[in-house]
Symmetry: C2
Subunit: 327 residues, 2 copies
């Protein structure tokens, strides 16, 4: 497969994978200076934009191109889910080395298209250029009924702290990938979670519509890094019970706990519920795979119950691009 | 000035330059998973996203950091102007080498803030990470009254072709910059146009509100590359009169013409007007510095009047990231 000859050819190749590039409210998609998006009356738009960079967020020689396509959109859509909103359309900024404009691009676009279908999100536009490494920046526009958006700042002392799914799965998947030889077993749960994470759009919307969550965010950098952000925004602290963490099965207990506390890339929802709303949540807890992992405290800071029953501060040891440098 | 210690510190440094991060319709800015944007009833949102990459769109050793900050937003806002819309808020995705998180960042943010004030656009959010080179992706959200958006696809045979300002100025400025030693004369018009281009927001809006332009786009890659895109979208051709091009003064005629035809980065507006609307436009032509450079034809393709009076095809020789590679 030959590399594409110019930028117009690249734009055509992208558009071909996503036609028709219009949705219910997308009046004008790819091909003009900008896209026209008509929000519904009574709804607010949700705006988010995320990097996905070769050598940093993914490795060209390790990550299948369709996973790169899937994940660059899924992780941005997860920010929409974390407000309780619904993703509607997205802009793709893609910078490619000419060698990646052939087979790599086709497989990338296939993964991206699958993710777009999965979260019902249409391609609205973006920008393409050439670069040494593969650079991706994805902007997702979502919507939510006015007044329903769930912020990070609403947690109150006494609220119970919940998380969806299993924590540490994606980090475990990343380690399997790093240690893998040529063949890749995509069928293990952890590997799938790392390669094709599913943003919790349904759950976020369900919680927002019923006003069950007082605060919400997604766990993208790891619990120990993300929870302090929610606490700081809300002006509260939190206490974690490590025995309650929804850890990976089949991994030594101590490793599983470390993965759950510090592993990134899970894109699960972290949210707080006031005790008065517990009954409404309880009926769905098992079906939605929700786990209460602690509670919100008046005392600032995030603490965890230690082996001896004493409370210890939880050190932020999740993903931080700048801290990595200093390690 | 020390590099910043972690990502949260970087986000704080950015936010500090833009507070309060809210506008008339921006309900929630930096600091949560995403931003909440409330479009006005009767208005459509305009979405656009642009790359601005070190070593490709700018050179760290040549371009002043405040110019990088100004230009990354100005060129994205120009896409909003090209639809006739008004920029409202933007998302900044910024990837930096740790060495650029000190003084470079501060100067960059100062230029970005100036541009944001100039186009009345507030910072809504974005993403930050580390990288080897400085990578920037800017998404601008604008708005326009429903039904007023001017597309590329509306040009009709017989329409007159107009352009704002002077063409080739920015390219000339880039050449001055490339050949400059240590000191930089920012006061020449061409250099200013290259470093601090001003998106034609007022003009675009004026044309859209009065429904004077049948088609419009901005000239970012150069006339010879951009005009064929308008013609293709509209299913028409165009004829350029080279004697009418608004060329740079003080440059040899032939060079000035080549710069006007193929030079990129001008961010002027290229638009078409039906002959019936000429009277409405004429009164403002001098004040708005508009020049008629040719007309739209039924015959496809873009042609130019040659030295001997014969019509010649105009070769697309503007900026194309992939074509550069093959040179």
């Amino acid at each position: 497969m030959k590399p594409l000859r110019d930028e117009d050819a690249l734009v055509k190749e992208i558009a071909r994978h996503f036609l028709p590039s219009r949705g219910r409210q997308l009046r004008l998609g790819i091909g003009d200076d900008a896209a026209l998006w008509e929000p519904r009356p009574g709804f607010a738009s949700i705006l988010t934009s995320d990097w996905f960079l070769e050598g940093f967020h993914f490795l060209r020689e390790k990550h299948p191109p369709d996973s790169v396509g899937w994940k660059c959109l899924a992780r941005a859509a997860s920010d929409i889910a974390a407000m309780g909103g619904t993703p509607r359309c997205f802009l793709l900024n893609l910078a490619l080395p000419p060698a990646a404009t052939g087979k790599w691009l086709k497989r990338f676009l296939r993964g991206l298209r699958r993710a777009a279908k999965s979260v019902h999100c249409v391609l609205a536009g973006g920008d393409t250029t050439r670069s040494r490494r593969i650079l991706i920046s994805v902007t997702v526009i979502g919507e939510i009924r006015e007044g329903q958006g769930v912020l990070r700042s609403g947690a109150r002392p006494g609220d119970l702290l919940y998380v969806s799914g299993t924590l540490g799965e994606a980090e475990h998947g990343l380690r399997l990938l790093r240690n893998s030889g040529g063949t890749l077993n995509r069928k293990t749960v952890a590997m799938r979670k790392h390669l094709y994470p599913e943003p919790r759009v349904e759950l976020g919307r369900w919680l927002a519509e019923r006003k069950l969550a007082t605060a919400m965010m997604d766990v993208s950098d790891g619990l120990s890094s993300d929870l302090p952000r929610m606490c700081a925004a809300s002006g509260v602290g939190a206490l974690i019970d490590p025995d309650k963490l929804p850890v990976l099965p089949g991994v030594a207990a101590d490793s599983a706990r470390q993965l759950a506390l510090h592993g990134g890339d899970d894109y699960e929802l972290l949210f707080t519920v006031s005790p008065g709303n517990l009954a409404s949540l309880s009926a769905k807890i098992r079906k939605l795979r929700l786990t209460q992992i602690g509670k919100i405290t008046k005392d600032l800071g995030v603490r965890i119950i230690g082996n001896d029953g004493k409370l210890e501060p939880l050190r932020a040891a999740g993903w931080d691009p700048f801290r990595q440098e200093n390690k």
